[in-house]
């Protein structure tokens, strides 16, 4: 590469100047940055709300807020984290930035639609935030909006569901864009089975986004119609069926949990071979297991409803299907570990984050099986065991994968390198804080600590205190990580094109890449993870 002439996409001078050069840009890399800064801001807000809940729970009874405030805060925390952070997170940031590059394309198929998705995302997010400040008070239904309570509560449910509806559209359009991009824009000579595995996982995710999201859209519209016009879909007083709401909601929201985790698995699958300098083990198995997860993931939603009065037959059937979906997830874990076996491992921060991911994801996944079996789930449903389960998967999984990806691709995105010591410190603080925060919740969950409660019996206090301490450590880890990265983005050392000796296409480009990504046609390898 001839670097005297190289102009990176960050310095590229287009039609517009200043902030307009960003918010009117259709370059997939700039859009990725737009998403990243927005999502980072929302994440911090969500995290602070989480900390507030932790301080409330440090002692039984009222400590820093009233019960209704607590209801509002856990709802808002859930809406922000689920709909505005983890569902868009990996696809919108790293997917946008690296999907075209990894398959050797100059951009996504529909760059303008891509920018439009970001505007929808911001508009939906603004509405969600606005719902907090209206006179009727923040919604207090939990992020799941269960009927019939959500059809009767006086809080701003309509605004919040409209927000989720619009955010859903943003997600659908991103999915559509990625599907078409993978089908049409692969570099000449790159077949499906020559693609790296992060694109594979994005492709599977995109199908879920496209097919599942409309269901929640319609469900939320039905809810709004019921509130506004008194149509009896869900409220039994009007002849409706509240369990129907749960069916419709989870037909989307279970697949949605795979929207969160599949790209995370993809990121980890990129990182592990690089830091082991070894071909990924079982390429095809990993690629196809992404599709299998996407497919079977559509059929297991009923495991959220074991205690809601569903028929006996439906319960055992959903339990069976839930156990089946664990198989492809386990395949991936075995493949990552086999890839590490006898590799020349290099413990860089990104790799440490990936290891933390595997550990935390396994705890999350295995406790998922406890929940998948009807008998045990009935014991722990709606306790803090559930809270621990999904935080292990979503934060320990998706969250840590995001941090891993950030440390892996940071030099490529900014052309600068961060400080390793500080990064290692943040991995450790995040990991220790995380486990201290959520593991005790498993224990008191089994003992009967309900979730979404503002008060509790004194015998649970020991665990709540540990959790709050863990929360503070976790938050410190976050601050150190963010400080480290912001500092590096501004004044870090210049990063080389391929600091980790990676083998996929992004590492053939200068850091940061030029606006068109590939000035010459990329060389496509038979196996993208070939280190010879």
């Amino acid at each position: 590469m001839n670097n005297t002439e190289h102009v990176s996409f960050l310095e590229h001078q287009g039609k517009h100047k200043g902030i307009l050069a960003w918010i009117l840009s259709t370059d997939h890399k700039r859009i990725a940055f737009l998403y990243m800064y927005a999502i980072a801001a929302f994440f911090l807000v969500g995290a602070i709300l989480g900390l507030l809940m932790r301080f409330e729970l440090i002692a039984p009874g009222e400590t820093i807020m009233k019960p209704q405030t607590y209801n509002g805060i856990f709802t808002v925390h859930g809406i922000i984290m689920i709909f505005m952070v983890v569902i868009p997170g990996l696809s919108a940031v790293f997917g946008n930035f690296f999907l075209p590059i990894l398959i050797g394309a100059k951009d996504v198929s529909f760059p303008k639609l891509n920018l439009f998705s970001w505007y929808l995302f911001m508009f939906g997010s603004a509405l969600a935030v606005a719902s907090q400040f209206l006179k009727s008070g923040p919604p207090d239904t939990g992020w799941t909006f269960y009927a019939p309570y959500s059809t009767t509560t006086g809080t701003s449910v309509i605004i919040a569901t409209t927000a989720a509806f619009i955010l859903g559209f943003s997600s659908i359009l991103t999915g559509l864009n990625f599907i078409v991009t993978v089908h049409r824009l692969r570099a000449p000579g790159m077949k499906f089975f020559n693609m790296p595995l992060f694109p594979w996982s994005l492709y599977a995710t995109a199908w879920i986004q496209l097919l599942a999201t409309p269901v929640v859209g319609i469900t939320l519209l039905m809810l709004i119609a019921e509130r506004l016009f008194g149509i009896g879909f869900f409220n039994p007083d009007l002849g409706g069926d509240p369990v129907l709401f749960q069916h419709l909601f989870w037909i989307y929201s279970h697949p949605a949990v795979y929207i969160m985790i599949l790209p995370a698995m993809g990121v980890i699958t990129e990182i592990i071979p690089t830091f082991c300098q070894k071909k990924v083990y079982g390429y095809k198995a990993i690629a196809l297991s992404s599709l299998a997860i996407a497919g079977v993931g559509f059929l297991v939603w009923g495991h959220h409803m074991y205690t809601s009065g569903m028929s006996e037959q439906a319960r055992w059937f959903f339990s069976l299907l839930t156990f089946i979906v664990a198989v492809p997830s386990a395949i991936k874990v075995f493949n990552w570990i086999s890839t590490m076996y006898k590799g020349s491992i290099d413990m860089k921060p990104a790799f440490l984050f990936a290891l933390a991911f595997i550990f935390l994801f396994m705890i999350g996944g295995l406790t998922g099986l406890i929940l998948g079996s009807v008998a045990t789930d009935i014991q722990v449903h709606d306790t803090s065991f559930i809270v621990a389960h999904f935080h292990y998967i979503i934060f320990g999984g998706m969250g840590f994968a995001f941090f891993a990806g950030l440390h892996y691709w940071f030099p490529k995105m900014y052309g600068r390198m961060y400080n390793f010591k500080r990064a290692n410190f943040s991995v450790i603080a995040l990991f220790v804080g995380f486990n201290l925060l959520y593991f005790p919740q498993f224990i008191i969950g089994v003992q009967g600590m309900p979730r979404r409660y503002f008060d509790y019996f004194p015998r649970f206090q020991w665990a709540q205190i540990l959790s709050t301490i863990g929360g503070v450590i976790l938050f410190i880890g976050l601050i150190v990580m963010i400080y480290n990265l912001v500092k590096a983005a501004r004044s870090g050392e210049k990063a080389p094109a391929n600091p980790w000796n990676g083998s996929t296409l992004e590492w053939q480009l200068p850091s940061p890449p030029s606006i068109e990504n590939f000035d010459e046609d990329p060389v496509v390898k038979e196996n993208p993870y070939d280190y010879n």
């Binding site: 049409r184 069916h247 037909i251 559509f298 009923g302 009065g309 569903m310 439906a314 059937f317």
Partner: protein, 94 residues
């Protein structure tokens, strides 16, 4: 992909499809006046299924697209049917 020239469907074919669609709409309305208990909905859904098939194949030109696209769209419908069936494992045994 191979077929980049826009396909032109004969107006007569389109008109015939339109007639069939209108007839099927009529069937959907009439079916409600015959008492078939739970089967009313089943038949209404079947008719709606046939209608969407016609719209997709002719009006949206799926009939003239490549095989991969046909398979993908078919899979989506299969998935949808499976989801509805599974939901009824709950409703029919309650």
């Amino acid at each position: 992909m191979s077929n980049n020239s826009p396909h032109i469907t004969d107006y007569k074919v389109l008109a015939k499809v339109l007639l069939v669609l209108m007839f099927l709409t009529f069937v959907t309305i009439e079916i409600t006046s015959i008492d078939l208990a739970a089967f009313t909905v089943t038949i209404a859904l079947l008719v709606a299924g046939i209608k969407s098939f016609l719209v997709l194949s002719y009006f949206m030109h799926l009939k003239y697209e490549n095989l991969l696209l046909k398979i993908l769209v078919t899979m989506v419908f299969v998935l949808f049917i499976i989801i509805v069936l599974i939901t009824f494992i709950d409703y029919s045994f309650r």
